[in-house]
Symmetry: C2
Subunit: 759 residues, 2 copies
């Protein structure tokens, strides 16, 4: 079925849209002609024509020349240190793992150097190492470490073996003509073909699924197939293993389904996890990881099989996804750690270098991408990197435009999404998640958000509980606290009901549902709003969260208005935490601190939280100010007399110190059915430890009030300390942008057209 | 007695040394001639000749021109906003406080602008504001806030009033000739003279002591005296109030003695707190604060009374102190937070701009100071700033040399000190404190240390418990936790015995003692050592701590060897904490974590610490690795089977969240008299969240052993994972650099000359 749907799409693809190549048709045509001869090598990533062009420009293209010099220095040092071929034995972070990882990276680079510099020493180095791999691989047993659901041979998991093959196929392509036919025969028979078979037909549970692991496997098999001119492998890459009968209920190490619906192959992996907007359902951290195989195999297919028009597939989704990924980063270029994401991963990662260069070259030569490439300070050493280097040389770059954007989730774009609201050139950025489960790396955090200012996280998403590649922490793999803490709802800035996670933390249930966009509005810079519903996370309870980024000259700095409306058929305990960083500055309420710290609960993440303080009597607004990295922030939230504001800190029941000791302020409301939570979050001032001056250290908010809260409308007033009052009304049922509303509140009529009112 | 000793020193001063002016005698002579006419104004900081020179160079001196433009913009904005003269009522951080603070800063700048730009609008602005102060001050009562031992009138403490006068006297000097004699008479009679009297003769408990507060008072009174040509005030500034009979046992708000020994006046303040090396006994944070009055009044005295040769006083201690202060900063220029010091205060503070410019101009034109000035990116708008601007214009700057340095404490340099050991261009910096009490801002932390690498604190000194000028936190003043936590011994990286602070936390006792240098050796870059003794902190116990910074090519990166040797007549409990930052990475021992967090003790700071985990059985070495800001660190320490390694965290009994939740690993040894603690601290690797590669994530240390520990010698072997073994032997009794030692250990003879052996 996969092959059929893919072919259908090939026929209907229309070369229009932002990323289409139609304004570059002459170039495209040239490339097609140059690369159609499948016997010329290199042809996979570097092309024979590209090598000619690069050699002609060398010395006049600064960023390319610089990258080349760095790579040459690196490879020369490796050649000088000799070939290291340890017997595989370690997990990530161990010597044999790191060494073989290093080897495939160096092999790819050495192949490129051979082509560009025309120096045989690099070809010989590649050949010698490949021959050693050939000698070792033909008798190599399955890797001795047993933790993976799909053990590799060079590495503890097939995933890493696939990484190896995707890189090494490029090296092989580069020295293909340098080798004799016998040598090629020897490598292909004893190393490459069995290697490709091992990670595919011998491990269908790894290969034949929709998952970032499989994408790597598909790309690896396809790329070596393209180099070897082995169409069976290329077909297996594109469409998966025919007749692989996998248990529809089997799961991998992360608890994800192996293959519930039988979809497989590169095209299915392109089809399924990407929404039409280019959002990748696992989130940006895994998208970044998947980008390299997606785009490098895309580039290879475009070079060797241009008739597939892979970059136009699904309305150019591959190229769109690069824009989506760049948008999913904070002002420093760090990706938002949605779902399992490790903080600090950024647009500077190598996978984004290839993504940006390939998108620039095969897409629309977007000048904004040049400024991203400039910040990356390196390019691909191939035809695409040459394009970027020439663009930069000609000073064509413009700032990459970070905007407010709503990214749909789901292969058809109808399974929720992620909205990003930005104000004042990223002075404040709201990330609002109302997406689908996100496969096995998904967290149970419907309608959650995180908040960023220009330099810091203001309210954090915890990210994953893992120290990637740091062997001392659980072999560099996922820690058990990833499941017991990081994935749980209470670990996120969203609502937990009755100390239970969304969908009861059950992956099978969560995977069947997604939140639903109510409306998204970013046209008016004064007030940008996103609103979404979640009716399935807690059966019997309906959540509607409406978040506005208000940047109103009347009120000063941009701030967030957060309205979480709940309808429930039962009386519940609600917990709404806000995970801040830094030091408590002040509160407008009294609180008591216990002598000893006890855990907040017994399960679903609550067992990992200490209670550091609890509010005494609250008035109608609870206000909490804090200080972090010399900046002042405040949360103001509407409170009932029986509400509690809890000061919590992560770290309980953490016998290996796997969790960060980060704090939260948590609003708790008990024994309540229908209710609404209304809060404002400000980043309002800063402190200089050098001048010792505090600027705007106090909240601008005097009072928040619910003016009206019905099934159809919620109206909030925001009064500031400067005695200005604003009213925000959101339509809770009718999200049409065209409908006219008329509401009377306390004798005043409010009339407007569209989703919301603000004045 | 002060006047007598000061006069004696004036006679004996010899113009030699690093900071002398003898290579600049022509310039000095010129200045003397120019400024001897005490009727010419300005004369105090700006001089009439300086103004001429500056006007001639304007537009050709970039850093000066830039500073001038910034100041002009700032003052023009203030002039446009009008004059604000609130009735004094607030503590630090409140409006009236901040406004009057702003006023004096702007007045000083406006005065300078009048002189340099020759634009009467600035003179008029200064005059108008001074007249409003005159109108208000003559009937102004004592400030309504009562917390200070010396309440001011414009501010809640005389200290801030003194700040005001020190700045405003400069403004007055600048517009002196612009005013009519009547106007001057009016201001001097109703404002300046009574103001000077109020902060001096009416508040002798503030003015007549050796303390940074008094230095401000003395400078303020002296500067207005110099402008007004009022020699009585100048004499009062230099020598204090005659016959002020103060209670020798009275204390200030910080618990410091007001005036135990009757010393007072600017010269006494210069004499007493500065050691001959220029170390200021309160530590760099307060020295920085004191620098401005010391140097600005020094400049004023040099300009108006050059015959005093103030910059040669006490072997040029004023200028030496600037070098000492610059050395007391980390690689980022942040001052080490010894005693009460707020982190983040740096060499970029305005007080250091004046200090650096004045030192450059009146000192030896040290080219290293120009690079500090360049980083400050501004200069004084006076003769000294002109010198610096011309130096930078002529590209004379050289890197400021940060070195290993031993700074003695005490007015005669015989009351302990602070040693700084630096390796590899500040890749690792050890700060070792064996100083005197440090007056009322001193902490009880004999033989404590802190450790820095190029970008971070590795093992921290907590600093003060205060949020300076952030009114929400205790009015911006010292918090009670400063006494109950920050000053206590357990808050520091040194030895606490029997859960009691040094000197039992008694200021009267601590002030009578200081640690004693055993030896300091920084000649050999491979191994730099400082060793000091403390026999009084715990009567009956003698502490000898020897710390080596080893940078041995055989072993790789620099690391710290720490030997704390204790002899005691009683069996004790010892606690030796190491305050790290970040996440626990690994240990070579098992530990147990409690379900609830309990406090570690009941008093002396222990009540502020939670116990997060405790080691089970230890072997002969306890090793602990952690990760912070993507760097890897390890502590390896020799342990006995009955020792405990405690994982602690600050924050218990902290009802207002005044303390940071920082962790420590703490070695506890019970029921022991004589013993030795031996540890190695490494900064050994780093992690990139972008490449996700961990480099050198593990300790290089395999084992530490005590080979010998006698009264005379302690010998340690350091074995690395690469099977290299080094021996360090320190002489515990004879610290002569010339004496020959011969020690036989396990049949091997070790022979060397000097304090220590390393091979």
């Amino acid at each position: 079925m996969n092959s059929k749907s893919a072919l259908t799409i090939f026929v209907f693809v229309i070369a229009v849209g932002f990323y289409s190549c139609n304004n570059d048709s002459q170039n495209t045509l040239d490339k097609t002609e140059q690369t159609n001869n499948s016997n010329a090598h290199p042809k996979l990533i570097l092309t024979a024509q590209g090598v000619k062009d690069i050699r002609a420009q060398l010395g006049t293209i600064p960023i390319f020349d610089k990258t080349l010099a760095t790579v040459k220095e690196e490879v020369d040092a490796e050649i000088a240190s000799g070939i290291h071929m340890p017997i595989p034995k370690d997990y990530s972070g161990g010597y044999s793992h790191d060494r073989h990882k290093r080897n495939f990276v160096v092999l790819q680079k050495a192949g490129v150097l051979y082509q560009i510099l025309d120096d045989e020493k690099y070809a010989k180095y590649v050949k010698d190492m490949l021959m050693q791999y050939e000698a070792m691989y033909k008798t190599l047993p399955v890797h001795p470490k047993t933790r993976s659901y799909a053990r590799g041979k060079l590495f503890w998991q097939c995933l890493n073996d696939s990484n190896w093959l995707a890189y090494v196929s490029q090296a092989y392509d580069c020295i293909y003509n340098y080798l004799s036919e016998d040598e090629r025969q020897q490598l292909e028979t004893n190393l490459f073909r069995p290697f490709a078979d091992y990670i595919s037909v011998e491990n269908p549970q790894f290969y034949n699924r929709v998952h970032n692991h499989s994408t790597w496997g598909n790309a690896a098999v396809g790329m070596i197939g393209l180099v070897m001119d082995d169409d069976e492998l290329v077909q297996r890459a594109l469409y998966g293993i025919k007749d692989a009968n996998l248990d529809a209920n089997a799961k991998d190490n992360d608890g994800g389904f192996i293959n519930k619906d039988g979809k497989a192959g590169f095209l299915a992996n392109l089809e399924e996890p990407f929404s039409p907007d280019g959002y990748y359902t696992e989130g940006p951290y895994y998208q970044r990881y998947a980008m390299y195989p997606f785009l490098i195999f895309g580039e290879a297919l475009q070079n060797v099989k241009p008739e597939l028009e892979i970059f136009k597939y699904k309305d150019s989704v591959l190229l769109k996804s690069v824009n989506a990924l760049l948008q999913l980063s904070d002002a420093k270029g760090n990706f938002f750690p949605l779902n399992d994401g490790q903080k600090g991963m950024s647009t500077k990662t190598n996978a984004l270098v290839s993504a940006v260069d390939i998108t620039y070259h095969f897409g629309n030569q977007d000048a904004g991408l040049l400024s991203v490439a400039k910040a990356q300070d390196k390019v691909m050493l191939d035809d695409t990197g040459l394009s970027v280097a020439l663009g930069l040389k000609e000073n064509k770059e413009e700032p990459f435009s970070k905007t407010s954007i709503n990214l749909s989730d789901g292969s058809d774009g109808d399974e929720g999404g992620v909205a990003i609201l930005r104000a004042k050139n990223e002075d404040l950025t709201l990330v609002f998640k109302y997406a689908a489960q996100g496969l096995s790396h998904g967290h149970y955090d419907k309608l959650s958000f995180s908040l960023y200012d220009k330099t810091d996280e203001v309210l954090q998403d915890y990210g994953l509980a893992r120290y990637v590649n740091i062997e001392q922490k659980g072999g560099g793999n996922y820690l058990k606290e990833n499941k017991t803490w990081a994935k749980q709802t209470i670990a996120h800035n969203t609502l937990t009901i009755n100390e239970t996670s969304h969908f009861n933390g059950k992956y099978d249930v969560g995977s069947q549902h997604h939140s639903v966009l109510h409306y998204f509005s970013s046209e008016d810079e004064t007030i940008q709003v996103v609103s979404a519903k979640e009716d399935n996370a807690y059966p019997g309870s309906e959540l509607l969260r409406t978040m506005a980024l208000i940047y109103d000259e009347d009120l000063g700095k941009p701030f967030i208005l957060d309205i979480m409306k709940v309808n429930s058929i039962t009386k519940n305990q609600y917990d709404l935490p806000f995970y801040y960083f830094g030091q408590v500055l002040s509160t407008n309420f009294e609180y008591e601190t216990p002598k000893t710290l006890n855990v907040l609960g017994s399960k679903n993440g609550f067992q990992h939280v200490y209670l550091e303080a609890k509010s005494k009597k609250l008035s109608n607004n609870g206000q909490f100010s804090w200080m972090h990295q010399n900046k002042f922030y405040s949360l103001t939230t509407i409170t009932n007399p029986n509400d509690e504001l809890l000061f919590t800190r992560i770290g309980a029941n953490d016998p290996d110190f796997n969790l960060r000791r980060d704090p939260a302020i948590q609003l708790r409301r008990k024994n309540t059915d229908n209710t609404v939570f209304v809060s404002v979050i400000e980043s309002h001032g800063n402190y200089s430890p050098v001048t010792e001056l505090a600027t705007n250290s106090r909240s601008e908010i005097k009072e928040l009030k619910v003016l009206l809260d019905t099934e159809d409308y919620t109206a909030i007033t925001i009064a500031t300390v400067n005695d200005k009052t604003k009213i925000f009304i959101t339509a809770n049922t009718n999200a049409s942008k065209k409908v006219k509303h008329a509401v009377e509140i306390n004798g005043t009529s409010y009339n407007w057209t569209g989703t919301h009112y603000y004045k």
